[in-house]
Structures are given as C-alpha cells and as structure tokens.
C-alpha cells in the first residue's frame, strides 16, 4: 500500500470540493472494497476523504410517498429497516443475500453501488486488465470465464457487476442522488452503471469528485416483489445469476393479467441488467410458466456466452420462471 493522507469530511460540499481538486483523491465509506483494493495494489489513492460520518445515515420518507436512503446507511441497517422490509422487501432480500454479517455492518449504500467487479483478473495486478489498466488487454478472455458476463460485454471487458443491492434497486426504478462541484443531479439507477464498451475502466457515469448522497425509491411500488440469488455456496458468495422482480397482477376483468413487470438480473453483465425485453413480453400476458419462459427467452436471445459460462443462460431462464411463478401463484411445474 502506498502512503496516503487521510481527512475526515466536515460536510458534503467540502468533501466534493476536496476530491474534485485532487485527481488522486477518493472518498472512503465503509472501506470493505476500497481498503481491500489498496492492499492488493488495485487502488492507490494519495488522499482519502472519509465521508462515513457525514449526516447521510438516515432513511426518510419523501413528500411524494417514496423513501430516501442516505448514502452512508449501512447495508445491515437498511435491510432491517421496518419501511424497507414492509414496502420494498425485494431490497431487503437482496441486501441479506450479499456478503456476511460483519461486512453488511460496515458497507454503505453509496459504497455498495460503487463496489468494483470481483473478476479475479481485475483483482490480480499481475494480469492484463483493461478495467484496471486501460489498453493492457483482458486476461479473462483467454482465461476461466465461469463467473463472467453473458450480456452486454465488449471485446475489452467481460466482467460483471457484483452487487445484489443494486439489482433490486434497478427493479425498483430507484434514483441515485449525486452531489458534484456544479451542484446536485439525479440519475436513474438503471443508467448509473455503464456497459464496458471501449472504456471498461469506467464502472459508472459519475465524474471524478461526484459524491452519492442518497438513493430515492419511488412510491406506489407493486407489493409482489422477490429477489432470488443462485450461487456456488449456500451463503457468503457472489451470484452466478440473480433475479429481482416486482410484479403487478390485475384480475379485475376476469382472467388475471400482468399489468406491471419490472425485472433486473445480476451476475450476468457489467451493470445490473434491466430485462426490458422480458418485461415487454410479459406486459398484458396471463401469468403462466409458458409466458414466463417466453419472456425469459426473449431477453436471453441477445446473450453471448463465453467458454465457461453457457450454463448461465438456462440458469437465468429457470430462475426467472421460478421467481415469477412464485410471485403470481402459478404452479411451478418442472422446468426443463
């Protein structure tokens, strides 16, 4: 680890000004990812501006009925918050599916969104990685790709975003509130993370010095919500694939029909993947295993698996069908 200066931020504005004015400065939140990267040599900031004690640790109700989650609310506190558990269970479930009890006590909401890929080639400074060192190549393309992307990857990067929380937030149509030197801006969560393209070093659309201050959740969210994560161990492992779904079923006209479906996928792309093709297919459809399977297949037509991760295609399809069946009360017949 290279030597660095440490400052505790007095307020959000001065924290933003300090980091904006120093190209090698970074914000420090819970530190669970950044401190680890500093040990590994993946990150080498010259200045850390600690924002973990700023008064951004509250969950508050918005005037429009939505909810504001402060950027420094810890993952464990967010998962246990009564309003999250009652109104946004998909978010509580996603948070509880991530990391360990200790890490959830440390990790912040803003930091969770900004955590970086767990691609082993990214985390090993002896390997070529366009994300860590632009232009150096991608060792994963010639390596072991079981954990890599099947959607939206580029020739330069096949890494996946590791967050569970962000997948649920994508399905909830959350908005990221960001403070920069020029003031505040609001970014829809689905547009916050990027696909790798030719700039895999950029995980998000944030500019240097911009600080996440909150995540807003909209009011009037359908109550049928679920998060399901498939992984190599029963606990404490990153997703192979995950599905967050928020669904509304209307039965007023007789036959039940899906009037609102929001689905996001984890473990499959460089960002939480909003499954908009599946959503379009489901819109107006009667809930059935067949319609769920058609929706999943519509989404997965664009999948482009690598050498070791073709299994993710049926795994996403089956998980999506199972989650939707569960949410709509459809008998989940054996899925091929």
């Amino acid at each position: 680890m290279i030597p660095f200066d440490y400052q505790r931020a007095d307020d959000a504005d001065s924290a933003v000004a300090t980091v904006t004015g120093h190209p090698q400065a970074q914000f420090l939140g819970g530190g669970t990812n950044l401190v680890d990267h500093m040990k590994l040599g993946v990150a080498d900031p010259e200045l850390l501006v600690d924002i973990s004690r700023l008064p951004l640790d509250e969950v508050t109700e918005l005037d429009d009925g939505g909810l504001r989650i402060g950027a420094t609310v810890r993952n464990s506190d967010l998962a246990a918050h009564p309003l999250i558990r009652r109104r946004y269970p998909v978010l509580a479930e996603a948070l509880l599916a991530g990391a360990s009890g200790q890490l959830r006590n440390m990790a912040t909401t803003g930091g969770n969104l900004l955590q970086r890929t767990r691609c082993v080639y990214f985390q090993d400074v002896t390997m070529a990685c366009n994300k860590r060192e632009p232009g150096s190549g991608c060792a994963a393309l010639e390596g072991y790709t079981r954990y890599h992307a099947i959607l939206g990857a580029s020739d330069g990067c096949v890494a996946v975003h590791p967050s569970d929380m962000a997948v649920a937030m994508a399905a909830l149509d959350a908005t990221v509130v960001v403070l920069g030197a020029a003031g505040e801006r609001r970014i829809p969560l689905a547009e916050f993370h990027r696909l790798p393209g030719s700039e895999p070093q950029r995980d998000t659309v944030l500019e240097h010095g911009e600080l996440i201050t909150a995540v807003d959740l909209p009011a009037s969210t359908p109550r049928r919500q679920a998060y399901r994560k498939v992984r190599d161990r029963a606990s404490y492992a990153f997703a192979l694939v995950s599905v967050a779904a928020v669904v509304k079923v209307d039965a007023a006209e007789g036959e039940p029909c899906i009037t609102d479906a929001r689905i996001a996928l984890g473990g499959v792309a460089h960002k939480p993947w909003r499954a908009s093709r599946a959503e379009e297919t489901l819109s107006g459809a009667a809930p059935s295993v067949e319609s769920f399977r058609r929706a999943a297949e519509a989404e997965l037509e664009q999948a482009d698996p690598l050498g070791d991760n073709g299994f993710k295609i049926p795994m996403v399809r089956n998980t999506m069908v199972a989650v939707l069946a569960d949410l709509t009360g459809v008998e989940p017949e054996a899925v091929a």
Partner: protein
C-alpha cells in the same frame, strides 16, 4: 503519514500513533499488544479478526484505524473475565466449539454481535418472513455466522455452542435427550448371531 488517535479497547483508554495505512487489526495486535483478534486472510473473508466496533461486529482487517479515532473496541478477551466468562465463551467450552482455536476469538465476537442483531429482530437470508421475530434455529445460526470460517471444521459444535448461549434451557433439554439416546442399547454387527443382514436392517435400531 502518522496520526494520533485514541481507541477504547476492552474498556481501557489506549492512545496510539498510527500510520494512515494501519488497519484496526494491525493497530490492536502490533501496536497495542491486543492479540485476541487474529489475522487470517487479511481480506475480510475469514472472520478471524472480528471485533465489536462501537458495539457492532466487523472484520477489523478492513477498517483503517485512523477512521475510528475515539471508537470503542471490544475483543473476545474483553467480553468476560477469568473469574466469570461471557456466556458465549462458556458455551464454546461446554460444547467443545473449537479445535485449534485460531478462529475462536472471531467466532465468539461474531456470535455475540449476531445474537444482539437477532434480538433486535434483524432478519437474515434464511428467515421465512422478514417481519417475524427471529428464532435462532440451526439454519439461522449457520447463515448468520457464514462470515466466520473454521478450517478445523468445528462447525457442528460451534452451532451447538451458540444454540446454548442463545437458549440455555432448550439446549440442556436437547443434550439430555441426546445423552439418553446414546445410552440406549444398540444392536451391533458383532452382536448379530449369524448374518450381517440382520444388523443392518434399518435406522430405527440406532
């Protein structure tokens, strides 16, 4: 780049000068001779360094000491005294919840923090209902303790120890029942008169 900080470790005021790069774990072990938390992976994956930081369990290897000036740190060594062990410590002894002991201080701090989280009603990944009070079943204990690895594989007894600490009476009844079952006569293979087929006829006799 040194900074002066003060930690309150197991009830003792401990001023210390640390390089900004120093983790809480290294500050405790190398600077303050508090060696109860252990360094395992040093990447937050094994849980051996778990302490209670301002009352909450964290992996101290991922915490920068400078960021916690003024904080309360409780290690496993500070949970009880030689005369009176903490109930979780006593339960690990009673239930033989360790073999080599390296992960034990982290397991114990994690268990204490976890039981407090459960007491507050915090749900887990395996909770059937997010809003119900928490009952620390074996499944709940295993899920909530998944951030603490034990290379000796003492998990069965670690779960039993935490079960005992969480509900001593229920565990006492459970152990008494298990003891009775162990003492019941069992038909062994070498007791069988003629053929193995007689003695391996099913699970009921065991």
């Amino acid at each position: 780049m040194d900074q002066n900080i003060t930690l309150y470790v197991d009830g003792n005021r401990r001023p210390v000068t640390v390089d900004t790069r120093t983790t809480l774990l290294d500050a405790l072990r190398d600077r303050l001779d508090v060696t109860s938390p252990k360094k395992g992976c040093d990447h937050g994956q094994c849980g051996a360094c778990t302490v209670l930081l301002n009352g909450r369990r964290v992996t101290s290897c991922l915490v920068l000491a400078v960021a916690y000036d003024g904080a309360d740190v409780t290690t496993a060594a500070g949970l009880g005294s030689d005369d009176e062990l903490h109930p979780v410590q006593q339960a690990f002894l009673d239930r033989d919840g360790f073999q080599c002991g390296y992960c034990t201080p982290g397991q114990i701090c994690s268990a204490v923090g976890m039981m407090e989280e459960a007491e507050r009603g915090s749900p887990s990944h395996v909770s059937a209902n997010l809003n119900d009070p928490v009952e620390l079943t074996d499944e709940e204990i295993r899920e909530r303790m998944s951030g603490n690895l034990c290379r000796c594989g003492a998990y069965v007894n670690i779960v039993a120890a935490i079960r005992q600490a969480a509900d001593p009476e229920a565990e006492q009844i459970r152990q008494a029942r298990a003891e009775r079952q162990r003492n019941e006569p069992v038909l062994r293979e070498d007791d069988a008169p003629t053929s193995y087929q007689v003695s391996v006829s099913g699970e009921e006799g065991r």
